[in-house]
C-alpha cells in the first residue's frame, strides 16, 4: 500500500508536525511562523493523501500525454494585464480597470482554449468547438472596440476641421464608401484580401486622421463657444457672441399653448392671450408653475425680452429660474433675436406678487416705457 513516495511524504508530514510543535514550544506561540508551519503541515497532509490515493503515480494506465499543447499567447497577455494592474495601482485607476479586463479576458480565452484542446482527439473539431464558444464573445468585443476607435477618431476629425470642410469631408468619405461598396457589389469575384485590405487602409486612415485631429484640437468657433460657456446657453447681459445660434427655439412643443405671446411691434409691447379679445398689459400666471412666454420681435433692431423675477426670487431656490437663465440673478431673458424671430422663455414664479417690492415685469432693454406686468396671485 505504501510505496516509497507515499512514505516519503508521510515522513515529511510527520516531520513538519514535529517542527511545528517544536516551534510552538520553543520559539513562540501564535506567531506568523506558527501559522506558516501549520499551513505547511496542512498542505503536506493534503499532498500525502493525494500521493497515496493515486498510488504513488504508479498506476497501470498512464495519464494521456497532453504534451501536444499548442502555442498560446494568453499567458503573455495575462502578464500584460498584470503589468497594467500594477500600473493602475501606482499611476491611475483607468489602467487598473483596463488591467482587470485584460486579465479576465485572457484567462477566459486561456481556459476555453485549454478546455477545447482536450475535448476530443480531433484537433480541427476542437478548434471548431473553441470557436463556437468564444466567437460569440470575441466578435462583438473586437467589433465594438474597432468601431469605437473608428467613431472616436472620426469625431476628432470632424471637431477639428471647419464646418464647411466637415461637410466636404463627410461627402467625400461617404462617396468613397459608396464607391467601394458599388465596386464590391458589381464585381463579386473581387479577391477578399483586396477588399479587406481597402477596409483596413480606410480604417487606418481614419485613425491616423483622428490622432492628427486630436492633436489639432477643437476648431475655432467650438473652442470660442466653449470658452464663452455658450454650451450652457448663458447670455443675459450685454455680451453678443457671434458663435451663438440665435434662431433656436429649443423645442417645438414650446410653441404650443404658451401662457402669452409677447409681441414687440412699433415700439409697443403687448401680450396676446387666448380668451382675451384685446392685447393685454397684465398677464396673470399661476404661482409655482413653469409657464412659457413667447417673445416675437417685429422691431428692426435685435432685441431680447427680460423677465424680472422679483426680489423674493433672489433668495429663492435656483430651480425656480429657467435652466438657461442666470440662477444667481433675479432676472432671466431670451437671447438677442433679429427682426421676425421668436424665442420662448420658460419661467417659474415661486412667490406671489404681493411678496414683491417691485412689480414683476416683462421688458425689452432699449425700449423705454413699455412693460408687461406679471401678476402672480
Amino acid at each position: 500500500m505504501f510505496k516509497v513516495g507515499s512514505k516519503l511524504f508521510l515522513g515529511l508530514t510527520g516531520f513538519a508536525a514535529l517542527t511545528l510543535v517544536a516551534y510552538l514550544i520553543f520559539v513562540e506561540r501564535l506567531a506568523l511562523g506558527g501559522v506558516a508551519l501549520s499551513v505547511v503541515f496542512a498542505v503536506l497532509v493534503g499532498l500525502s493523501a493525494v500521493i497515496i490515493m493515486i498510488n504513488d503515480g504508479d498506476s497501470e494506465v498512464q495519464p494521456r500525454d497532453v504534451s501536444l499543447v499548442r502555442a498560446s499567447m494568453w499567458p503573455l497577455v495575462t502578464v500584460v494585464g498584470f503589468v497594467l494592474l500594477i500600473l493602475g495601482l501606482v499611476v491611475a485607476q483607468v489602467y487598473f480597470i483596463f488591467g482587470i479586463v485584460v486579465v479576465l479576458a485572457a484567462l477566459t480565452e486561456w481556459l476555453v482554449q485549454a478546455w477545447s484542446e482536450s475535448a476530443s482527439d480531433d484537433a480541427a473539431h476542437n478548434e471548431s468547438a473553441r470557436r463556437r464558444l468564444l466567437h460569440p464573445i470575441e466578435f462583438p468585443v473586437i467589433a465594438t472596440l474597432g468601431l469605437g476607435v473608428i467613431i472616436f477618431a472620426f469625431s476628432r476629425i470632424m471637431l477639428a476641421i471647419s464646418k464647411s470642410a466637415g461637410a466636404v469631408a463627410f461627402i467625400v468619405l461617404s462617396s468613397l464608401v459608396l464607391l467601394v461598396g458599388a465596386i464590391v457589389a458589381l464585381r463579386p469575384a473581387l479577391k477578399s484580401a483586396l477588399v479587406s485590405g481597402i477596409c483596413v487602409a480606410g480604417a487606418v486612415g481614419i485613425v491616423v486622421g483622428g490622432i492628427a485631429g486630436q492633436g489639432a484640437g477643437l476648431r475655432t468657433e467650438l473652442a470660442e463657444a466653449a470658452a464663452e460657456g455658450h454650451f450652457l446657453h448663458r447670455e443675459c447681459g450685454e455680451e453678443k457672441s457671434k458663435y451663438f445660434d440665435k434662431k433656436a427655439m429649443k423645442t417645438i412643443s414650446l410653441r404650443t399653448n404658451p401662457v402669452a405671446i409677447v409681441e414687440l411691434r412699433g415700439g409697443v409691447l403687448s401680450a396676446i392671450m387666448t380668451g382675451f379679445n384685446e392685447p393685454q398689459k397684465i398677464v396673470s400666471v399661476p404661482r409655482g408653475n413653469p409657464v412659457t412666454f413667447i417673445f416675437r420681435n417685429f422691431d428692426d433692431a435685435e432685441r431680447r425680452m427680460v423677465a424680472s423675477l422679483g426680489t423674493a426670487m433672489a433668495a429663492g431656490a435656483e430651480t425656480s429660474t429657467e435652466k438657461e437663465g442666470h440662477s444667481d440673478s433675479n432676472e432671466t431673458c431670451t437671447q438677442l433675436i433679429p427682426q421676425g424671430a421668436e424665442q420662448a422663455l420658460t419661467v417659474t414664479y415661486a412667490k406671489p406678487s404681493i411678496a414683491q417690492e417691485d412689480p414683476l415685469t416683462l421688458t425689452v432693454p432699449g425700449v423705454t416705457g413699455q412693460a408687461i406686468e406679471v401678476v402672480v396671485p
Partner: protein, 417 residues
Amino acid sequence: MNHRSSNETPAVGRLSVARVKARRFGQCALVATGAIALLGSCATNAPQDTWQPKGPNAKMIDDLQQPVFAVAGIIGIIVSVAVAYVIWRYKDRGQPIPEQTHGKPALEITLTVIPALILAVVGVFTFRVIFDLARTDDTQLVINVTGQQWWWEYDYPVQNEWGITQPIISSGQLVMPAGTKVLLRETSRDVIHSYWIPALNGKRDAVPGRIHTLRLEADEPGIYAGQCTEFCGLSHANMRMEAVALSKEDFARWIANQQAAYQAPAEGTLAKEGEAVFLNQCVRCHQVDGLKRPDGTLAIAAPDENVWSGAAPNLTKLMTRNTFAGAMFDLLRDACRDDVWKADSAEFGVKYLAGVDEACLNVNDLRAWLRNAPEVKPMYANPALLTETNGKYRGMPNLGLSESDIDKLVAYLLTLK
C-alpha cells in the same frame, strides 16, 4: 330622430316633453340591449348625470348625443332580433347540408352603404358642434384654473368690467356668474387632470405646460358637481369640484367680498390665538392675504419649499366656500349643505353668500383633517418616502397639532370670510 334634433339650434331652453321621452328612450334602449330590462328606473338624478344639461354648452352636446344613442339602440335591437330569428329559424332540425353559397355582393354592398350613410349624417352635425364648442372669441369672463394633486385652484385675472381690480384666488368651488359665457384657461402644476362639470360642458384636460380652454355657462344659479376625470395619482378619486353659478348681482357681491381687506380677529379671543397657531404652522404653505406677523410684516407663504407643486390653497376667504380639501369634504354640515344645494335659483345666491358660520360648520371633518390630513385623504406625505421629490410633500402632511391648537385653529378659520 335625426331630423328632429338637427332642426333645433343649440340654445337655452326648457326640455320639451317630447325630448324628455326621446332621451329616455335613447338611454334605455341602449341599456336594454345590454340585457337589463329595468326600463323605468334609469334616471335617478345623480349630480353628475351626463344627460341633464344645465347650460347651453352641455345642451349642444346633449342634443347631439340623444339621436346618436337612439339610432345606436335601434340598430342594436335590429341585430339582436336578427340573430335571434336566425337561431330559431335555422336550427339544425335534420335539414340537408345547405347550398355552399359564398355571398351576394349586391346585398353586402347595400348593407355596407347604409351604415356609412347614417354615420355621414351624424358626422356633419358632430362637426358643427365640435367647432362651436371650441370658440374662444365670445368670452365674457376669463378664469384661470390650475389643477394640482388633488385640488383645483381658481384665479380671476384682473377684469375691470367685472370689478376685479386685483387678482382673486380661490379653490374648491368655481364661482361664476350665471348666464355668462365663462372661459376657463386650464393648466396644471404637476400631472394631467381633467376638468369636468357634466351639467355645463364636457371635460377638458388640464395639462402642465399648456393652456387649454373650456367654455362654461350656467343657465340658472345653482351648484353643479364635477370630478377630476383624468387619473392623477393616489387620491384621484377624491379630487372633486363644484361650479357655483350666481346671479350677476350676487356675483358682484362675491367679487367685492373676495377683494375686501383682511380682518384680524380681536385681541384676546380664541381666534386670535388661532391666528398665532396659523402663523406658526400653516402659513408655511397656506397664504392668507393681508395676514401680518406680530412684527407687522406681511406673512408670505412659501409652499414651494414644502410642497412639490409649489402651491397650497389660498385660505383668505375660506369660509365663503362650502368645501375644503379639494372638495372632498363639505365645510357645511349635512343639513346646511342640503339647504344650499336644494335652494331654488332665486334663493340660492343669498344662501350661498352667507358662507359658513359656527352653527353650520362641519366640525368633525375639519378637525379630522387638521388632526391628520393624510389619514383621511391618501396623499404622498410620508416623510420617509419623499426622496424623489426632494423631501417635498404632495398634499398636506400630518402637522401633529394638539387638540387645543385645533380648537384655536378652527376658531380662527371661522373668521376667514
